[in-house]
Amino acid sequence: MPKIHSIETLGALDGPGLRTVIFFQGCVMRCGYCHNADMFDFDGGKEMSAEEIAAFCARYKSYYGQTGGATLSGGEPLAQADFALEVLNALKAQGIHTALDTSGAVYAPKALAAADLVLLDIKHTDKDMFLRLTGQPIDNTLKTLSFLQKKGKPFWVRQVIVQGHNDTVEQVSALKALAEGAQKIQLLPFHSMGAHKWEKAGLTYPFKNAQPPSEKVMQQLRNAVLN
C-alpha cells in the first residue's frame, strides 16, 4: 500500500519557486544526519491515492506561478517507485510541474523519466564513504545519474555538507566533475534541527555533537563548485 508521511504546502527549498512537497514514508538509507528520521520506517505514514495527492496540490496552483509546482521527497520516493510514477502522472494531468527529490538509492528509470526535474542528492563521491554514511552502496545513485545524463533530463545535484565527512574542496570538486550536465549544484550545510525527530522515533541521533560547517567553509566549497 502506498504510504505518505505528510504534505508540506510551503516548500521553497526543494526545486524552483514555491512547491508543495509530498514526503513519502520509508527510506532504504540510514544517513546519520538525516533531518527526517521520522520517515525511515516503511510501516508508518498514512495512505493516500495519487489522485488525492494531485487534487490537493492543485489547490496551490495560484502560488506556483511560472516556476513552482510539486516535489516528491521523503523518505525515498523511489522506494515506492510505482506509486511515485502514478503520483507524477497524476500531477502532470493537473498541469503541475514536478520535481523528484531522490538519493538514487533505488534505480527507477520510469519514474525518473516521468519527472520534469530530478533533484539528485549524492551523499558522497567516494564509494566507501558513501556506504559508511548511508548504509547503501553508491551503485544505484551512479546508475541514476548516468540515466539522467544520457537522457538529457533536467536535473540538479545536491549534497549536504557535513563537517569531517565531505567538507573538502577535493570532495566537492569531484562532485562537480561527476555532476556533468546538472543545471545546478546545491551544497546545503548540515543542521541539527531534525534531532528531535530521532528521539521521537526512539532512535539515537548519531550526529548529536556535530556542528554545522562554518559560513566561510561553505563559501569556499561553493566557489569550488562554481569555478
Binding site: S6, I7, E8, T9, L10, G11, A12, L13, G17, L18, T20, H35, F56, R59, Y60, S62, Y63, Y64, G65, G68, Q186, M193, G194, K197
Partner: protein, 741 residues
C-alpha cells in the same frame, strides 16, 4: 488659476472630485527603487531630536508630558515645533512634540483616568467645564439597556467605542490641498442652503446642524494654519504646500478627535502629481522630493493620543493607525504606483523602521513586478508593511478608497464608518451550551434555554442552539451600536473630518467577530470527535472531554473550513436583519487587533481543547500551532472566508523565518511575492507579513532594550516589540512560525 497650472483639465475643476484629478494627472511608474535618496541633513537633524524624545517618552512610562489645562482642539494650543530651523513641514498636536492633549468629549471619566494613570491631575478648569457638559459616554449610558450592560460586562461585547472617540473615519485631507479650505467652505454653504428646501425631519435637522458645525471647523482649520504662517484658504501652489496642506488637515482632525484609528487615507499618488510638476518646473529635485515625504512622515510618527491602561490592554503598543494605502490599480487597469509610492515606503529606511504610519500596500495583479518585489524586500528587511487585496476591494469600493485602521476599506470622502468593535463568538458558543449562563461566573447573560450538559453533544442540536443565540446576539449588538453612534453624532461629532466628506456620505456600520477559529475547531470537535461536557455542582459546563480526532481550521480541510465560512456568513446575515442607525450598511470584520488576548482571558475552556483564559489567535488566524500542513494550507483555509460577508476585512497575520523562503535574498523576495500573489488570487483579503527568526524575538523578549526598533506586525498594524506588555510578547512568541526543519 495658478494653483492648477500644468494640470490636465477635467470634471474635478467644477466640482469636488479628487479621484478625477488623480486619474487625469498621475504618472504611473513601473521602474525599480534605484532612484531613491537617503535622508537630507535637515531630516537627519530632526530625526536625532525625535529619537531623543522617544527615548525620554519611553523612560517616562510611555508618556512624555500631558497638558492637563487645555481641551484639545484646532486652536487651543500655540504653534509647536520640534526643530524650527530644519522643519519644512509644520504643525504639532499641542505646543510641544509628543506632549499629549486631553480630549474629554468621548467621556470625562476616561480622560480623568488616563491622566491619572500617568501621575497627572486634570485641571479644575476642565473638571468644572465638563460638569455642565454631556459627553458621548454620558449619553450612551443613559440609554444602554440591561441586556447591553450584561453583554458588555461578560465580555461578549468588548472594546465598544462608548467612552472615547469612535475613530475609523477618514477625512479627505487631499481636498484642502487641491481646492483650498475656502472653496470647501463655500460648497458646504451651498449644501446647507439646499437643505432648506426639505421638510425638517430628524435627519434634515441633524444634518443642518452638522453642516453648520463643519463650516465652523473649516474656518478653524484656516486659522490653525495661519498660526504657522500658512494660508490654506487657497489651494496649494507647490509640492511643499500640497504636503503641508494635507498634513494640516490631518493634524486638525487628530487635534479634534481621539478615535482609536485616525487613518490618513491614500495620499502618496495624489502628492506625486504636485512633486512631478515641481520637478518638471525645476523647483524640486529628487533629494527635495524625498525630504518632503520624510518630513511629512516624521510628523505623522509624532501623532499621540492619551489612553487608559485598559485601552492599552486591548490595543497594545500605543497605536494610532495613521494608515496610508499605497499602490493599487485604477478602474482602467493602470497601476496607481508612482515614484511617491516608493518614496513613502522608503521612509522605513531613511527614518528607521517604525510602526506608523501603518503602510498598507494595495496589492493587485496589475502592479509592476518591480514594485511587488521591492515591497517583498521591505517586508523581509523591516516586517513593517501589510498587504491587502486590491483586486478584491476595487469592484466594491472603486479605485479611490483608503484603509481605515487595519483592514476597513472606505471610499475616501464619500463613505464614513460607524466603528463597532467586536463580539466574542467563542464565548457565545459556551454561553449557548450553558443555556444563557456565563461559563466562567455562572451568571445569566443571555436568554434562558435548557443547558446541553447531559451526555455526548449532538452536532445538529448544538448548531441549532448556537444559531439561535447568534440571532439574539446580532440583534442586541446592532441595537447597542445604534445607541453608541447616535450619541457620538450628538455629543462628539467629527466636525472637521466630516467637513472633508461629501455632505450626504454613505454610512457603513462595521461589526466584528473574535474567536472564529475557536468556534470552527470546537464545532468540528463536536461533529467529528466525541465531545462530552463536564459540569460543576450547579450544572454549569466548565470543561469538555473530547475523544477522537477532528480536523482543525488552518489545514485547508473543507470539513472544518466550511464551518468557519458558514458561521461568518450566518452571523453577517443575522446582523442585517436589524436596521442600523442612519441607514448605515452593515459590514463585518474578522479582526481582533490585539484584543485576542483580552477576549481569550474572558473565555472558558472550549470543546476543541483551548484552555480557559488562554489567548485566541489574532483575527481570522487558525489557533496557534494547529496547522500541520504548512503555511499555504493555513492561508487557503483563511481565504475560504467570504469577503462579501466580511466587507470590513479579514485579517491574517503570518510569520515565517527567512530561511524557509529560499537560499538567497533574491529568491526569498521572489517567493514571498509569489505567496502574497497566490493568497490573493485564491480570494484572501489581508496579509500581515513578518519575516524573522523566532530566536530574534526570544532575545528581544529577554532584552527589549537591545532591540529598540524591532517592529512586528500584530493584527492589522505594526508595533515595536519592546513596548508590548510581557503578556502580549508571550502571545506573539506562542504564534505559529512557519519554519522548515
Amino acid at each position: 488659476m495658478d494653483a492648477w497650472k500644468g494640470f490636465k483639465k477635467g470634471r474635478w475643476q467644477d466640482t469636488i472630485d479628487v479621484r478625477d484629478f488623480i486619474q487625469k494627472n498621475y504618472a504611473p511608474y513601473a521602474g525599480g527603487a534605484e532612484f531613491l535618496r537617503g535622508p537630507s541633513a535637515s531630516v537627519s537633524a530632526i530625526l536625532k531630536k525625535f529619537k531623543k524624545l522617544l527615548a525620554d517618552e519611553k523612560a517616562n512610562n510611555g508618556v512624555l508630558d500631558i497638558d492637563t489645562d487645555t481641551v484639545s482642539s484646532l486652536l487651543s494650543y500655540k504653534p509647536g515645533y520640534i526643530d524650527r530651523e530644519n522643519e519644512i513641514i509644520f504643525g504639532l498636536q499641542t505646543d510641544a512634540p509628543l506632549k499629549r492633549g486631553v480630549n474629554p468629549f468621548g467621556g470625562i471619566r476616561t480622560a480623568r483616568d488616563a491622566v491619572r494613570a500617568y501621575g497627572y491631575q486634570l485641571s479644575d478648569k476642565i473638571e468644572e467645564h465638563f460638569k455642565y457638559k454631556t459627553t458621548h459616554n454620558d449619553g450612551v449610558f443613559r440609554v444602554y439597556t440591561k441586556e447591553m450592560l450584561a453583554l458588555r460586562k461578560s465580555g461578549i461585547l468588548t472594546g465598544l467605542p462608548d467612552a472615547y472617540g469612535r475613530g475609523r473615519i477618514i477625512g479627505d485631507y487631499r481636498r484642502v490641498a487641491l481646492y483650498g479650505a475656502q472653496f470647501l467652505l463655500d460648497e458646504k454653504i451651498k449644501d446647507f442652503e439646499a437643505l432648506e428646501a426639505l421638510d425638517m425631519d430628524d435627519e434634515t435637522i441633524r444634518l443642518r446642524e452638522e453642516v453648520c458645525r463643519q463650516r465652523e471647523f473649516l474656518l478653524q482649520l484656516m486659522q490653525m494654519a495661519q498660526l504657522y504662517g500658512d494660508d490654506v484658504s487657497r489651494p496649494a501652489l507647490t509640492a511643499r504646500e500640497a504636503v503641508q496642506w494635507v498634513y494640516y488637515a490631518y493634524l486638525g482632525a487628530i487635534k479634534e478627535q481621539n478615535g482609536a484609528a485616525m487613518s490618513l487615507g491614500r495620499v502618496s499618488t495624489f502628492l506625486d502629481i504636485y512633486i512631478q510638476r515641481d520637478i518638471k518646473n525645476g523647483l524640486l529635485d529628487e533629494d527635495g522630493a524625498q525630504e518632503l515625504i520624510d518630513q511629512f512622515v516624521l510628523k505623522l510618527r509624532m501623532a499621540r493620543q492619551l489612553r487608559t491602561p485598559e485601552y492599552n490592554e486591548l490595543f497594545a503598543g500605543d497605536p494610532t493607525w495613521v494608515t496610508e494605502a499605497v499602490g493599487g490599480a485604477g478602474l482602467d487597469g493602470r497601476s496607481l504606483v508612482t515614484k511617491s509610492s516608493y518614496r513613502f515606503i522608503h521612509t522605513l529606511y531613511n527614518l528607521d523602521t517604525a510602526p506608523e504610519p501603518n503602510i498598507t500596500v494595495l496589492f493587485s495583479r496589475a502592479l509592476p513586478q518591480a514594485f511587488k518585489e521591492y515591497c517583498a524586500r521591505v517586508s523581509v528587511d523591516t516586517s513593517s508593511i501589510q498587504y491587502e487585496n486590491d483586486d478584491l476591494m476595487r469592484p466594491e469600493f472603486g479605485d479611490d478608497y483608503g484603509i481605515s485602521c487595519c483592514v476597513s476599506a472606505m471610499k475616501i470622502g464619500k463613505q464614513m464608518q460607524f466603528f463597532g468593535a467586536r463580539c466574542n463568538l467563542a464565548k457565545l458558543l459556551l454561553v449557548a451550551l450553558n443555556g444563557g449562563r456565563d461559563e466562567l461566573t455562572g451568571i445569566e447573560v443571555g436568554f434562558k434555554a435548557k443547558p446541553l450538559n447531559a451526555g455526548v453533544l449532538n452536532y445538529d442540536e448544538v448548531l441549532a442552539r448556537y444559531l439561535g443565540y447568534i440571532d439574539w446576539l446580532a440583534k442586541t449588538y446592532v441595537n447597542t451600536m445604534n445607541v453608541i453612534h447616535y450619541m457620538h453624532d450628538k455629543y462628539a461629532y467629527e466636525k472637521l473630518q466630516m467637513g472633508l466628506h461629501d455632505t450626504q456620505p454613505e454610512r457603513l456600520m462595521a461589526f466584528g467577530v473574535a474567536g472564529l477559529s475557536v468556534v470552527a475547531d470546537s464545532l468540528s470537535a463536536i461533529k467529528y470527535a466525541e465531545c462530552t461536557p463536564v459540569t460543576d455542582e450547579t450544572g454549569l459546563i466548565t470543561d469538555y472531554k473530547t475523544v477522537g480526532e477532528f480536523p482543525s481550521y488552518g489545514n485547508d480541510d473543507d470539513r472544518v473550513d466550511g464551518i468557519a465560512a458558514f458561521i461568518t456568513q450566518y452571523f453577517y446575515d443575522a446582523l442585517c436583519k436589524t436596521k442600523a442607525y442612519r441607514g448605515a450598511k452593515h459590514t463585518l470584520s474578522v479582526l481582533t487587533i490585539t484584543s485576542n488576548i483580552v477576549y481569550g482571558s474572558k473565555t472558558g475552556k472550549t470543546p476543541c481543547g483551548k484552555p480557559a483564559r488562554e489567548a485566541f489567535a489574532p483575527g481570522a488566524n487558525p489557533l496557534h500551532n494547529r496547522e500541520t500542513h504548512g503555511a499555504l494550507a493555513s492561508l487557503n483555509s483563511v481565504a475560504k472566508l467570504s469577503y462579501k460577508a466580511c466587507r470590513d476585512g479579514i485579517s491574517n497575520t503570518f510569520s515565517l523565518t527567512p530561511d524557509t523562503l529560499g537560499h538567497s535574498e533574491e529568491i526569498v523576495c521572489k517567493n514571498l511575492t509569489a505567496i502574497i500573489e497566490g493568497y490573493f488570487k485564491n480570494g484572501g483579503h489581508h496579509l500581515n507579513v513578518n519575516v524573522f527568526k523566532r530566536a530574534v524575538l526570544e532575545q528581544a523578549h529577554k532584552q527589549p532594550h537591545r532591540y529598540p526598533n524591532l517592529t512586528i506586525r500584530v493584527s492589522g498594524y505594526a508595533v515595536k516589540f519592546g513596548v508590548l506588555s510581557k503578556k502580549h510578547r508571550e502571545e506573539v512568541l506562542a504564534r505559529t512560525f512557519f519554519d522548515r526543519l
